[in-house]
Amino acid sequence: MLTLKLEKRLVPSRSMAYLVPVISFVLALLFGAVLLTLAGANPWRTYQAMLEGAFGTPTQWAAGDFYNLTETLVKAIPLMLCGLGVSIAFRMLFWNIGAEGQLVMGGFAAGGTALWLPQLAPELPGWLYLPLMLVVGMLAGAIWALVPALLKAYLRVNEIITTLMLNYIAILWLQHLYYGPWKDPQGYGFPGTAQFVEAAWLPRLIGRVHWGLIFALVAAFVIWLVLGRTRWGYEIRLIGENVSAARYAGVNIARNIVLVAALSGGLAGLAGMAEVAGISHRLQQGLAVGYGFTAIIVAWLARLNPFGVILVSVLLAALLVGGDQIQIVMRLPASMALVLQGAILFFMLGGNIFTRYRLRLTR
C-alpha cells in the first residue's frame, strides 16, 4: 500500500521558504471567499473592490490619479517601522507584542513636544522641531519597551503579557489626554488636541506619503547591516537560535534583551512620531488602529528579513486599504482584512512544515 510519509530534510528548503508565504496568501484569499459567500457577498466583486481600493484602476492611473496607491503606501509606513522593530526582537525570541503601545507612546511624546515647545521655548528655530520630535518619539517607544525588557532580563517576567498589557495602558493614556487635559479648547468638543505648528509637520513626498517612508527604508538597511555584518547582529542571531550556546560563548543575554527591546520599541515609537507628524498633525483618535498587531504578521510573513518586511508591509497595507474600501462601497465589515491576515498566518504556519520536511510516497 502507498502511504504518505513526512521525512525530515537535512537542510531547510530555500525555495519552500519563499513559496510557502505566497501559497498561504492565495489559500487565505480562498478561505476568505468561502466566508464572504457565507456572508452573502460576492467574493469576486469584493476582491476586485479591495484591489481597486488598494491600488486604483488603470483609468485612474492614466488620468495621473495615484491616490489609492499612495494611501496604501501611507498605511505601509507604520507597518514597516513596527514590523522592523518586532522582527528584530523576534530574532532573539523576545516576544514584543507591544508595538502598538510603543507606537502610541512615540506619537504621544512627539505630539506633546510639538504642542508644548512653542510655549516653552518660543525662540527655538523651527528646523529643530522635527529632529527633536524624532528623538523624543523614539525614546518614548524605547522606554515603553524597556520596562518589559528589564523585567524579562533580570526577573524573568513573561514579556508577552507585560508588553501586551502596556498596550492597553498606553492607549488609555493617550485617550485621556486628547479627551481631557490636552483637548483643543477651540475644537468644538471634537476629541483631539490643537493642530501642531507647521514646523512640526513631516514633509511629504507624493500624495500623503511622508518622510516616514525614508525612515523605514533607512531603518531596514541599517538593521540588515547590523544583523548580517556586525558582532552585535551575530549575537542577536545566536541567542535566537540557541540560548545556551550563546551563553557558553560568553554573550551577555540580559544586556542584549535590553538593547534589542529598546531598538524594537524605538522603531515603533518612530512609527508613532511619523504618523502624528506626517498624517494627523495632531493627537486624536485613529493612532492606535492595530498597526502594532499587524506588524507581527508582517514580521512572520517576511521571515524576519528586513527587506522582506518592507515588501510584506505594502502587501498587508493593501489589504487594510482594500478592507476600508469594501466597507465604504459594499458595506462589508473592514475587519475582513484582519480575518484574511490571521488566515494567511495560519496557512503559513501550517505550510512551514514543508520547508523542514518533505512528503514522500512510500510503499
Binding site: A39, I161, W173, Y179, I296, P333
Partner: protein, 318 residues
C-alpha cells in the same frame, strides 16, 4: 449600609471573575498538556459573539452556550492541528489565533444581527439570576455566592472537579505527564498526541464558555472589543495560579475585585479620570505577574510544565 456596600462589591467580584475563571481553567488544562495557546483572547471573543448571536436567533441562552463551547473547541482544534501535527511554533500560532479570532468576531458582530445587520445594541436571551433557596439566605455569604446566574454555579462545580481530576485520578496523572515529560509518558503507553489534542480542544471549549458568560450574563449583548484583554489576563493568571485550578479561582476573584472597585468608584462619581480606572486591571496584571515571578524564583520553584511549548516528535528524542 457599610455591610451592604461590601456585599455588593463582593457580588460583582464573583460575577466579574467568572469568565476569567473559565478562561484561566481552560488555559491551565491546555498548558498542563504541554501546549501553550496564546489564542485565549481570540477564542474568548469568538465565544462571546457566537454565543450571543446563537442565543439571539434561537431565543435560548442554552443554545448560545453550546455554540460558544463548539466554537471555542473548533478554534483550539486549529491551534492543535498546527502545533501538534504540523509542529508549528506555538507562540506564533497562538498569536495568529488571537488576531484571526478578533478579526472574525468583529466581522461576525457586524453581520449576524437580524437580516445581516450588526449585532451591536440588540437585546437577546440571557442567563438570569437564580436564587438558591435556603443557601441564599445565609447572612453575608448567601447573597454573594448564591444569588448569581447558572454559569457561576457551573463554575463552583467545575473548579473542584478539575482540581480533583488533575491531582487525584489516573487521567489527571496522564495529563500532567504529557506536559512534563512526553517521551516518558509515551514509553508508558500514554497516547501523547491524542491527549494533547483532547486537552487543547477541551481548554478551548472552557475559554469559549468564558466568552459566553460575558455576552450572556455579565454584560449581556455584544459590543466591539467586549473581552478587552481578559483573555490575556487569563494567561497571566495561569502563571499566577502556578498551573493549579484552585489557585486560579483566587487570582480570577482578585481581578473580579479590581473590576468591582472600578465599577463602584465610577458609580460613586469619583474625580479620578475614567481612563485611570480603566487602566487598573492591566497595571494590576503586570504588578501581580512581577510579584509572583519574583516569589517563585525566590522559592526556587518552576511552576511551568517542563515540556510546555515544545513540539513532541516521537522519532526525534531530545
Amino acid at each position: 449600609m457599610e455591610l451592604d456596600l461590601f456585599v455588593s462589591i463582593l457580588t460583582i467580584t464573583v460575577r466579574a471573575g467568572t469568565s476569567l475563571v473559565f478562561a484561566t481553567l481552560g488555559e491551565i488544562i491546555t498548558e498542563r498538556a504541554g501546549i501553550l495557546n496564546l489564542g485565549v483572547e481570540g477564542m474568548m471573543i469568538m465565544g462571546a459573539v457566537t454565543a450571543f448571536a446563537a442565543a439571539f436567533h434561537s431565543g435560548s441562552a442554552v443554545v448560545g452556550l453550546l455554540v460558544a463551547l463548539a466554537v471555542g473547541g473548533l478554534l483550539a482544534l486549529i491551534h492543535a492541528f498546527l502545533t501538534i501535527s504540523l509542529r508549528a511554533d506555538q507562540t506564533v500560532s497562538g498569536l495568529a489565533l488571537t488576531i484571526f479570532g478578533s478579526g472574525l468576531a468583529s466581522f461576525l458582530g457586524q453581520r449576524l444581527g437580524p437580516a445581516g445587520s450588526p449585532l451591536v445594541g440588540q437585546v437577546g436571551p440571557r442567563f438570569e439570576k437564580v436564587i438558591v433557596p435556603v443557601l441564599a439566605d445565609i447572612p453575608g455569604l448567601g447573597p454573594v455566592l448564591f444569588r448569581q446566574d447558572a454559569l457561576v454555579y457551573a463554575m463552583y462545580v467545575l473548579v473542584p472537579l478539575a482540581w480533583f481530576i488533575m491531582y487525584k485520578t489516573r487521567p489527571g496523572l496522564h495529563l500532567r505527564a504529557i506536559g512534563e515529560s512526553p517521551h516518558t509518558a509515551d514509553a508508558m503507553g500514554v497516547n501523547v498526541i491524542g491527549l494533547r489534542y483532547l486537552y487543547t480542544v477541551l481548554g478551548g471549549m472552557l475559554v469559549g464558555l468564558g466568552g459566553a458568560h460575558l455576552s450572556l450574563a455579565y454584560t449581556p449583548g455584544w459590543t466591539e472589543n467586549l473581552t478587552s484583554g481578559r483573555g490575556w489576563i487569563a494567561i497571566a493568571l495561569v502563571i499566577f495560579a502556578t498551573w493549579n485550578p484552585a489557585r486560579a479561582v483566587l487570582g480570577a476573584l482578585l481581578f473580579g475585585g479590581v473590576n468591582a472597585i472600578q465599577f463602584r468608584l465610577q458609580a460613586a462619581g469619583t474625580t479620578i479620570p475614567a481612563a485611570f480606572l480603566n487602566m487598573l486591571p492591566y497595571a494590576f496584571t503586570i504588578i501581580v505577574l512581577v510579584l509572583i515571578t519574583w516569589w517563585e524564583a525566590f522559592r526556587k520553584r518552576v511552576g511551568a510544565p517542563a515540556a510546555l511549548g515544545l513540539p513532541y516528535m516521537r522519532e526525534e528524542r531530545t
